[in-house]
C-alpha cells in the first residue's frame, strides 16, 4: 500500500448532521439502553403472567435478565453490532472505509474502534482503573485486619471487599491486561497490519467495562454485594443476597470477552504471520499468547457453566448443586476449578513471554534454549488441564484421585523450572542493562521462585491438608499472581511504553517504583506464610489475638505497597504527556515491533516485512530477524 492510500483511509467519516440520535455513539446509548431495559422487564413479566407464575413481578429473574439486556442495549447503542446487522440483513456489502480505525483524539478511545493499537491501549487503561479500585478494596480490608475484632466493616461488607478484590484482580486486571498488551504487540511482532477480526476485537474490549461495572455495581445491591468469595462455592453462593447475581453475570461478560479475544489471537497467529515467520521464528511472547489462547478457548466455557448452573439454582430453583434436591455439591468445584486452575496459567504464561523478551534484549544475548522454552509452554498447557483437583484435596472428593492429581501438579514444576533456569542462563555472561523492565524481570524471577516452591509444598497432599484455606494459601497465590504476573505486567508496561505512547518514561521514577513495590510486596506477603501455618484461616474479618502484631505489620506494609502504585501512576501520566520523545527502537531490540516508528503507523508496516531469521540473535555478527522493504498487498477488506 502506498502512503497516499494509507492517508485516504485514515480520516474518519464526517458526522452527518441531524442524525445524532441514530449514529453509533454515546447519544444513541442514552436511548437504546433504557429501551433494552424496558424490553427485559416486558419479557420477564409477560412470560410470568402468561405462565401464571406468581408473583408476576419477581426480582430474581428480572435482575438476571436485565444483566443481559442492559449491556446489550449499551453495545447496540455504541455500535458494536452495526456492521454485522447491516451485513446480516442482506443489504449490499458496504465497502470498508476504515472510518472506525485508529485514533486522532482522545474521543476515539471512547467508541467502537477496530485498530488493534487503540484497543490495546483501551484494554490497558481500563484494567489499570480496575487495578486501582481492586487495590483500594484490599487496603480497606487490610485496615480492618490491622487489629482483631470488628473495626470499620461488618462481616458482610468485609466478605464483599474480599470477594470483589479477588474477582476484579483476576477477571478485570490480570487476565485482560495480557489480552491488552498482546493486542497491541502481537500483530506488530508477527508483521501483520491488524488482528484477524478487528470488529470482534472491538466488541471483546467493550464487554470488559460492562463486566467490571457489574461486579462493582453489585456491591450496591439491596442486602449487600457478592460475598461468597471469588470462588463462589455452592451452596453458600446460591443463598446470598441478590448482589451475587451481579457476580455470576459479570463473570460471564468477562469470560465471553476472554474467549473472543483468544479466538482472535489464534486465528491471527496462525494465518497472519509475515512471510518467513515460521513457528520456530516467532518471538516467545507470541508463543506464550498462542498457548494461553488455547487454554482460554478450552477452559473458559467451564466457568461459564459453573456460574450459570449456580445462578439457575437460585433464580430458577434448579438443583444442580443443592444436596436437598439431589444435587452434587462437589460438582460445582470440579467444574469451577477445571477453568480456574488453567486460569492460573492464563494469568502467567503471557507474563513468561514478556519476561523472555525483556531478559534477552536487556542481557544482549539470545534466549537460552529457545525451542525448549516454547515446548515447555506447551508442556504446561497439557499438564495444566490435569491438575484442577489439587484445589480440592480437603474437599472430600474421591480420595484416590488425590495422588494422581498430586503427581501431575508436581510435574508442572519441571517445565516451569526449565523456564526459570533458561532465563538465568540467558542472563549468564550477558551485558545486562538493569533498567526498569529488567529490574521487574529480575524481581519476578526471585519472587516467582518463592511462589513456585510454596506451590510444591501445597502440591504435597499431606502438607496441603494442613495449609489449605489458611493465610499460607493467600501468601502463595500473591507470590505467583503479584510477584509473578503483576511484576511481568509492570515489566511489559515499561518495556513497551515508548512504543505505545511515543514517549519515554522517567527511568528514575521507574526504578523507585520497582524498589518500593519489591520491598512492600515481600514485607506484606512473606509473613502470611507464617500466620497461615500457625493457624490463621483466610477470609476472616476477625482472628485470634495472638496474630495481632503480625497482622498490624502486614497491614502497614500493604499501605506502603499501595503507595508505590502512586509513583507508577504519576510516572505514566506525566511521561505520557511530557516525556521525552521515544526513538523507534530505544532498546536496540530485533523483534518487528521495534522496526517501525513509535507509535507505529496506522497500518503498522508500510511494506510487508520479510522474516529471515530468529528473533533473538543478539551478539551474532550480521544476523537479521527481518527485512522491511518488500512491496505490500492491500490490507484485508479494502475494496
Amino acid at each position: 500500500m502506498t502512503t497516499a492510500a494509507v492517508d485516504s483511509h485514515s480520516h474518519h467519516a464526517p458526522p452527518v448532521p441531524g442524525r445524532l440520535l441514530t449514529r453509533p455513539g454515546w447519544v444513541r446509548v442514552l436511548w437504546t439502553t433504557p429501551l433494552f431495559f424496558g424490553l427485559g422487564i416486558g419479557i420477564v413479566t409477560l412470560v410470568r403472567w402468561l405462565a401464571d407464575w406468581n408473583p408476576v413481578w419477581y426480582a430474581q429473574p428480572l435482575v438476571a435478565v436485565e444483566l443481559v439486556m442492559v449491556p446489550l442495549g449499551f453495545l447496540v447503542g455504541l455500535g458494536a453490532f452495526d456492521y454485522w446487522a447491516y451485513y446480516a440483513s442482506g443489504r449490499r456489502t458496504r465497502p470498508e472505509d476504515h472510518s472506525s480505525h485508529g485514533a486522532t483524539s482522545w474521543r476515539d478511545y471512547f467508541r467502537v474502534n477496530t485498530d488493534h493499537k487503540v484497543i490495546g491501549i483501551q484494554y490497558v487503561v481500563t484494567t489499570q482503573i480496575f487495578f486501582v479500585i481492586a487495590g483500594l478494596f484490599a487496603l480497606l480490608f487490610r485496615a480492618e485486619l490491622a487489629r482483631p475484632g470488628d473495626q470499620y466493616f461488618n462481616p458482610q461488607t468485609f466478605n464483599v471487599l474480599v470477594s470483589d478484590h479477588a474477582a476484579l484482580m483476576i477477571f478485570l486486571v490480570i487476565v485482560p491486561v495480557f489480552a491488552g498488551l498482546g493486542n497491541y504487540v502481537i500483530p506488530l511482532m508477527i508483521g501483520a497490519s491488524d488482528m484477524a477480526f478487528p470488529r470482534l476485537n472491538a466488541l471483546s474490549f467493550w464487554l470488559l467495562p460492562i463486566a467490571g461495572t457489574m461486579l462493582v455495581a453489585g456491591m450496591a445491591a439491596p442486602g449487600g454485594g457478592p460475598s461468597a468469595g471469588w470462588t463462589c462455592y455452592a451452596p453458600l453462593c446460591s443463598h446470598q443476597p441478590i448482589g451475587q447475581v451481579f457476580f455470576n453475570m459479570g463473570v460471564q461478560w468477562a469470560g465471553t470477552s476472554s474467549i473472543m479475544t483468544a479466538l482472535n489471537f489464534l486465528v491471527t497467529i496462525i494465518t497472519m504471520r509475515a512471510p518467513g515467520m515460521t513457528f520456530w521464528r516467532m518471538p516467545l511472547l507470541v508463543w506464550a499468547n498462542f498457548t494461553t489462547s488455547l487454554l482460554v478457548v478450552v477452559a473458559t466455557p467451564f466457568i461459564a457453566g459453573s456460574q450459570f448452573f449456580v445462578m439457575f439454582d437460585r433464580v430458577m430453583h434448579t438443583n444442580f448443586f443443592e444436596p436437598a434436591g439431589g444435587g452434587y455439591v462437589l460438582g460445582y468445584q470440579h467444574i469451577f476449578w477445571f477453568y480456574s486452575h488453567p486460569a492460573v496459567y492464563i494469568m502467567v504464561l503471557p507474563g513468561f513471554g514478556i519476561i523472555s523478551e525483556v531478559i534477552s534484549v536487556m542481557s544482549r544475548k539470545p534466549i537460552f534454549g529457545y525451542r525448549l522454552m516454547a515446548l515447555s509452554l506447551l508442556g504446561i498447557l497439557v499438564l495444566g488441564f490435569s491438575v484442577w483437583a489439587h484445589h480440592m484435596f480437603v474437599a472430600g472428593m474421591a480420595s484416590w484421585l488425590r495422588v494422581p492429581m498430586m503427581v501431575t501438579t508436581m510435574l508442572i514444576a519441571v517445565p516451569t523450572g526449565v523456564k526459570i533456569f533458561s532465563w538465568l542462563a540467558t542472563m549468564w555472561n550477558g551485558r545486562i542493562h538493569f533498567n526498569t523492565p529488567m529490574l521487574f524481570a529480575t524481581g519476578f524471577i526471585a519472587t516467582f521462585v518463592i511462589g513456585g516452591l510454596s506451590g510444591i509444598y501445597l502440591a504435597s497432599v499431606p502438607i496441603d491438608i494442613h495449609a489449605s484455606d489458611t493465610y499460607f494459601i493467600v501468601a502463595h497465590i500473591h507470590y505467583v499472581l503479584f510477584g509473578g504476573s503483576v511484576f511481568t505486567i509492570f515489566a511489559g508496561f515499561y518495556y513497551w511504553f515508548p512504543k505505545m505512547t511515543g514517549r519515554m518514561y522517567n527511568e528514575r521514577l521507574g526504578q523507585l517504583h520497582f524498589w518500593l513495590t519489591f520491598i512492600g510486596f515481600n514485607l506484606t506477603f512473606f509473613p502470611m506464610h507464617y500466620v497461615g501455618l500457625q493457624g490463621m484461616p483466610r477470609r476472616v474479618a476477625d482472628y485470634a489475638p495472638r496474630f495481632a502484631d503480625l497482622n498490624l505489620f502486614i497491614s502497614i506494609a500493604s499501605f506502603g505497597l499501595g503507595a508505590s502504585t502512586l509513583v507508577f501512576l504519576y510516572n505514566v501520566i506525566h511521561s505520557w504527556r511530557f516525556g521525552e520523545l521515544a526513538p523507534a527502537n530505544p532498546w536496540r531490540a530485533l523483534t518487528l515491533e521495534w522496526q517501525v516508528s513509535s507509535p507505529p503507523p496506522l497500518f503498522n508496516f508500510e511494506e510487508v516485512p520479510q522474516v529471515v531469521g530468529n528473533p533473538y540473535e543478539y551478539g551474532v555478527p550480521g544476523a537479521r530477524h527481518a527485512i522491511l522493504g518488500v512491496p505490500a498487498s492491500e490490507p484485508a477488506g479494502v475494496d
Binding site: A395, G396, M406, M410, L453
Partner: protein, 338 residues
C-alpha cells in the same frame, strides 16, 4: 565456566542456603504437633523444605552473581556471547527437578496413606458443621459443642484409641481444622467425609472453620480437649449434655462457648463478654430485668455493647434460634447468675 566464577557461585549459594536454613530453623513455622498425623506432616514439610532451600539457594546465587558481575553501564552497547543453548545442561535441569518432585510425591503419598489409617477399634465421633457452630455426637448418642478425645495408643497408654471423625454439614460447606493436629476436612451438606486423628499429647486446642460459610465464619470456633484414656472413660460416663438443662443444648448447638466464658457450660471463650458476669452487666447496662437484657443482647447485640468489647457478635441469632429454644437459652443464662 571459569573456575573462579564457579568458586564464587558456590560461595553465594552456600551463603543463601545458610540464611534460608537459619530462617527455617529460627522461626517455629508449624504449631507444636499434638498428633501422629501432625508428626508425619511435619516430616513431609521438612523433607520439602530441605529440597526447596537447595533450589532457592542456586537460583539466588546465580541472580546475585549476575547482578554483581554482568551489569553494564547504560551507554555500553556491546552484545553478549551468542550462546543459543546447551543440550546437556538443558537435559540436566529437566531431569533433576523431575527426580526431586517424584521423590516428594512418593513421600507424600506414603504419608497420606498412613494418615488415613485409624487402626483397630477407633473412637467414632460424628461432627456436624452448621452456620456457625460445631457439634460433636458420640457413640452413646450424647452431643456436645466441643470435642473431647483420648490420647492415641502408646507405651504409656496402651488402651489409648485413635479417633475417626465422621464429618458432615447441615447447610453450606464448612471445614474442620485443628492446627496442632494438622488434619483438615471439609464438611459437605449431604455427604459424609472421614478424618483420622491420633493425639500424642493432652491439652486444649482450637477447632477452626476454614471454609467461608457466611457472616459468622470468623467466629465459627470450638475447641478440642485431648485427655488421657482414663479421663475419657470418665467423660463418656458422665457430663451428659442431654441430661442437663434444655438451655445448655441450645448454648452448645449455637457455639456460644466459642466466644464466651460460661462456667455452667464449661466454656472459656474470651472473644465476647464473660457470661458468668451477666448479672453485673445487666446492672451497668440498666436496660430492664436480667432476662429482657439477655434476650435483647442475643437478638440485637448492637443495642448495648459491654465496655471493653466490640460490636462483633453476628446479628443472626434472632432469626436462627426458634422462639422456644431462645427462651430456654435465656432462662439457662439467667438462671445460675441469680
Amino acid at each position: 565456566m571459569r573456575r573462579g566464577s564457579l568458586v564464587q557461585l558456590t560461595f553465594f549459594a552456600l551463603v543463601a542456603a545458610g540464611i534460608c536454613t537459619a530462617v527455617a530453623l529460627a522461626i517455629p513455622w508449624l504449631p507444636d504437633p499434638a498428633g501422629k498425623e501432625a508428626d508425619r506432616i511435619d516430616f513431609t514439610y521438612w523433607f520439602v523444605t530441605v529440597i526447596s532451600i537447595g533450589v532457592f539457594a542456586i537460583v539466588a546465587a546465580v541472580l546475585v552473581y549476575a547482578i554483581l558481575k554482568f551489569r553494564v553501564r547504560p551507554d555500553d552497547d556491546s552484545d553478549g556471547p551468542p550462546t543459543h543453548g546447551h543440550a546437556t545442561l538443558e537435559i540436566v535441569w529437566t531431569a533433576i527437578p523431575a527426580v526431586l518432585v517424584t521423590a516428594i510425591a512418593i513421600v507424600s503419598a506414603i504419608v497420606l496413606a498412613q494418615n488415613g489409617r485409624a487402626g483397630a477399634n477407633p473412637l467414632v465421633v460424628k461432627v456436624l458443621g452448621k452456620q456457625f457452630a460445631w457439634s460433636f455426637t458420640y457413640p452413646n448418642g450424647k452431643t456436645y459443642g466441643s470435642l473431647t478425645i483420648p490420647l492415641g495408643p502408646s507405651k504409656k497408654y496402651p488402651n489409648g484409641r485413635a479417633t475417626r471423625l465422621d464429618i458432615t454439614a447441615a447447610d453450606v460447606i464448612h471445614s474442620f481444622w485443628v492446627p496442632e493436629l494438622s488434619q483438615k476436612q471439609d464438611a459437605l451438606p449431604g455427604a459424609h467425609n472421614t478424618l483420622v486423628v491420633t493425639p500424642t499429647r493432652t491439652g486444649t486446642f482450637p477447632v477452626i472453620c476454614t471454609e467461608l460459610c457466611g457472616l459468622g465464619h470468623a467466629l465459627m470456633r470450638s475447641h478440642v480437649d485431648i485427655v488421657t484414656p482414663a479421663q475419657f472413660a470418665a467423660f463418656e460416663k458422665g457430663g451428659s449434655q442431654t441430661s442437663g438443662p434444655p438451655g445448655l443444648a441450645v448454648f452448645q448447638a449455637n457455639g456460644c462457648g466459642g466466644c464466651h466464658t460460661f462456667t455452667p457450660a464449661g466454656s472459656n471463650g474470651a472473644v465476647g463478654p464473660d457470661l458468668d458476669k451477666l448479672a453485673d452487666y445487666a446492672k451497668t447496662a440498666n436496660r430492664g430485668p436480667l432476662a429482657t437484657f439477655i434476650k435483647e443482647s442475643i437478638v440485637n447485640p448492637a443495642a448495648y455493647v459491654q465496655p471493653g468489647y466490640q460490636d462483633q457478635m453476628p446479628h443472626i441469632y434472632g432469626q436462627q434460634i426458634p422462639a422456644d429454644k431462645l427462651d430456654q437459652l435465656v432462662q439457662y443464662l439467667a438462671g445460675p447468675s441469680k
